[in-house]
Symmetry: D5
Subunit: 91 residues, 10 copies
Amino acid sequence: MLFHVRMDVHLPADLDPEMRADIVAREKAYSQELQRSGKWPHIWRIVGEYSNFSVFDVESGDELHDILSGLPLFPYMDIKVTPLAKHPSKI
Amino acid sequence: MLFHVRMDVHLPADLDPEMRADIVAREKAYSQELQRSGKWPHIWRIVGEYSNFSVFDVESGDELHDILSGLPLFPYMDIKVTPLAKHPSKI
Amino acid sequence: MLFHVRMDVHLPADLDPEMRADIVAREKAYSQELQRSGKWPHIWRIVGEYSNFSVFDVESGDELHDILSGLPLFPYMDIKVTPLAKHPSKI
Amino acid sequence: MLFHVRMDVHLPADLDPEMRADIVAREKAYSQELQRSGKWPHIWRIVGEYSNFSVFDVESGDELHDILSGLPLFPYMDIKVTPLAKHPSKI
Amino acid sequence: MLFHVRMDVHLPADLDPEMRADIVAREKAYSQELQRSGKWPHIWRIVGEYSNFSVFDVESGDELHDILSGLPLFPYMDIKVTPLAKHPSKI
Amino acid sequence: MLFHVRMDVHLPADLDPEMRADIVAREKAYSQELQRSGKWPHIWRIVGEYSNFSVFDVESGDELHDILSGLPLFPYMDIKVTPLAKHPSKI
Amino acid sequence: MLFHVRMDVHLPADLDPEMRADIVAREKAYSQELQRSGKWPHIWRIVGEYSNFSVFDVESGDELHDILSGLPLFPYMDIKVTPLAKHPSKI
Amino acid sequence: MLFHVRMDVHLPADLDPEMRADIVAREKAYSQELQRSGKWPHIWRIVGEYSNFSVFDVESGDELHDILSGLPLFPYMDIKVTPLAKHPSKI
Amino acid sequence: MLFHVRMDVHLPADLDPEMRADIVAREKAYSQELQRSGKWPHIWRIVGEYSNFSVFDVESGDELHDILSGLPLFPYMDIKVTPLAKHPSKI
Amino acid sequence: MLFHVRMDVHLPADLDPEMRADIVAREKAYSQELQRSGKWPHIWRIVGEYSNFSVFDVESGDELHDILSGLPLFPYMDIKVTPLAKHPSKI
């Protein structure tokens, strides 16, 4: 089933640059693997913010929580999940 | 360019049923025409709410405002538009 | 899967008493049928409010939206759905 | 009587990993002992958040406050308690 | 046990004055009976608002909900209940 | 005159334990002296929070501000003061 | 003592113009009498809003509530009262 | 001096269409006269909302309030005014 | 023209006491000079908070911003400015 | 197309003064270059706040995000972007 997710990243401004680069690189790899698997079909940057809107396609809330809590940036993010249904006007 | 849109519908509970059915039918036709044209690529129902998350692909803010203010349900909706950009992790 | 749902009812104070009684009776029957089916395992009144916290156990967001939008009180409610996962401390 | 509780955990991202593991382990043991005693009948993870929705079954507000303020994670949590009553539609 | 309650009254400005006077008179009688019984030990007007802060002393959330939902002004009020415990500094 | 006060304490989780114990002990003594004097007639713990609801009975806003800003925990608290009046239904 | 008061007026757009003019005229007279008495030393319009910031100088919360609830516009206003004290930098 | 203004229009969905057209036409004429005079240098539609962001260039808060409260749509609008200053980076 | 200003001070609890005393002393001198000049005609402490409501009488938004951003406590304050106009009921 | 942007700067009060001066100087140069290019046609200081309202004129959301995320102050700012359209009353 589909879930809409908003993620807001709050990396401390004084984080060690190497550590920051490492977390961001691991986040990218983790995200791209999930995109390739079909579980993370959409991700958009919100203009002007260190944030994204995403859509996930997973079996259950348990699977989604495993995915989200495994994000390398998880300790630095506020995440808001909204369950989706098919819209009756959808072609 | 892409815009994320949340629409919340507030039809009065005592609206004349025929008028209601008419507005909803016109809304559906209007939405489906825009979906077919490629300008409204995504629409999902938010579970438990008379609301949707949508993504629009338009030339400009002017075009998007024309589309949204032309929705038959526009006088009964709260709409929130967020501009999107390509996410650096997007495959 | 499990969803946490908060429902807040806003029946107009001047609603026709018969109509009100009819809606409330149908709501109760509808709710109890779903409770018996196992799809609505928990419902609690929030003290001092015309509101409830509920837990639903359904196959998908689509099924939950069908259930919630079919509630006789749906046109008079604000509903907020939160997806749940198993808690790691749960015995 | 029953209380609905939402707990949001805010552990500092730079907390010493051993101290973190120790707090989390003690929290789990404390929670499971209360679950076994029947005082903490429900606990669910909120998908995508370091948060839970719980239901407690206690004698009084005093007992509930003793339980909650004794949580090893209490200094790192925002907690919101809502009193519950039997719902008239509950089967 | 003790509960802190905030009540905000929203009587429509165009309510029939007789009906208004009747509701307010029944509210007063209902409140005073509960005050005399010891179940409603404190009630204060919030300055400048048609609102009060109250403290109730009841057996359970069920009893409190029965009392509050029986208020003649209940259909016109927003009510917020907060459970209380003994404060460790209380003499 | 009477004032309703809500106090929310935010002691840093890494505060030196001795300093913490000292502040809390001085806070308790300060509060109890004011309770004995009749100026702080009510104090209740809010269940699940490091917070209280209190009622103060003082001569003026100046006196109340002197009392509150003298609290040993004042630098660590958010305080919200609401003026009270006699309720017309009060027996 | 001094209180800061914000008043926001919400007169229905379809109110009978004569009734509206009458309420507004009585409000003005009521306000000016209190200004002359010294109890309402300051009143300013908030630019762009049907609202004011005022300061009242009264004996008690009871007196202030009597004054505010006697305003002809009281049934149409949201009022927020904040108690004031002498500022230590005030010359 | 310059003021930033946000206006949100809330015309009732069931307003008489002729009355609506008349108000909107008078609003447009009123706005354009002020734009021509130089007092209303900027006005933009907020995409998807019946709202605008504007900038006014006036002598004083009194003048701005006279202008805004004279808007034919004033009884149907929420208005929020923010005073502006020259930005130190402005070329 | 007149502006209503709310200032909320957030000095870190662990600020060096000498530095704190120095900032507060400079703030007081700065404020009193402006009060004497007639530009800061009103300042009141908000009871229970490290905050004030003030009224400024200045030539322009530019002048007010210069004054406020020059406050020794400016880096530690949240400030909210609201433009004022003469109230039609003002005597 | 046009976008309305609000930026709120939160530089830590204890930031190294040289580093602070350097960031602010680079921010100014970056902003002025964009102003000269026509992409940042408006910028105003919000009175009393370390904030601005700006209008950007760019090709797309992607271009705007590149500009904003390149601001030297970006790691220290909250940014809120609102898409604009031509207003029908605009002369």
